[in-house]
């Protein structure tokens, strides 16, 4: 049995415990180390296999790009909501996706929900189609193309699948 079956999660637990207590006193550090070691040991048997992050720098860049997009998309959506409703043309779109891992699909769907005027509604059973609902659908091909090139390609590259 390894001491750190999930090194990333151990680090996350350590940091979150210190953040929640908002202190770096010795007692809390000892407690955080204790949690960081024991909790992964307990839960590691319940875990599905997840793909590894192959390109951490690309992942960090992706996070910052998504944050920027969230702010821009929010302003766009806010303008759409406040503007005339009669002009909005909502629509359902099927986006073909090409990611195998469930984690990758989850991240893609969450990104799509948070960024441009789209909410992901469902994934088809064969994991080949992502269904999204767009608040204002101008050009279907353009939307599908932008999702595929802007969000799907980096995720595929990060997880290498």
């Amino acid at each position: 049995m390894k001491l750190f079956p999930m090194p990333f999660h151990s680090l996350l637990l350590f940091v979150v415990w210190l953040l929640l207590n908002n202190s770096i006193s010795a007692g809390h550090i000892v407690l955080a180390v204790f949690f960081a070691i024991t909790i992964p040991l307990i839960v590691t048997s319940m875990r599905d296999e997840h793909p590894r992050i192959l390109k951490p720098w690309l992942a960090i860049r992706y996070v910052f790009m998504v944050m920027k997009d969230i702010v821009i998309a929010n302003i766009e959506v806010a303008l759409l909501i406040v503007g005339p409703i009669k002009k909005l043309k909502p629509g359902f779109v099927a986006v073909p996706i090409n990611i195998d891992s469930e984690l990758g699909i989850t991240i893609l769907a969450s990104t799509v929900s948070l960024t441009p005027g789209t909410v992901s509604a469902e994934v088809s059973k064969d994991k080949a189609w992502l269904y999204i609902h767009a608040l204002h659908l101008d050009n279907e091909e353009e939307l599908v193309e932008s999702i595929k090139s802007r969000y799907e390609a980096p995720i595929k590259e990060i997880f290498g699948c």
Binding site: V16, L19, L20, N22, I70, V71, A73, N74, V77, A78, I81, V82, I85, L88, K89, P90, G91, F92, V93, A94, A109, S110, T111, V112, S113, L114, G117, V119, S120, A121, E122, V123, S124, K125, D126, A128, W129, Y131, H133, L135, L137, E140
Partner: protein, 124 residues
Amino acid sequence: MPLYLEIIICVSLLIGGVFLLIGSYGLARLPDIYMRLHSPTKASTLGITGVLIASMILQSHLQGFLSIKELLITLFLLITAPVAANMIAKTALHYRTKPINETQGDDLMEAIRDRKSPKQPPEA
């Protein structure tokens, strides 16, 4: 408190408040459930982020050390908001809630509900 800190706090608070109001306004105003999903998931998430940033700066100033635990709520909401929106969309599709007439591609709805691919012919 220095003036520049106060101005930063006020601006991010105001941005947060306005976005929260817009999110709820959209929730009350938009015509169907699928469109209503958009406003709380996006505008409200950004709104709460603004309020949390203001709170973070103010508490750091008041307590005299950097307090970044507010980021935990922001992170948590950023992760959970799309999941909640996705589940609500699933529920609406499950009950075959009608979208407004202008919706394009509403012939896809049965395929989405049964999680099929769009080109597959519907089962008899």
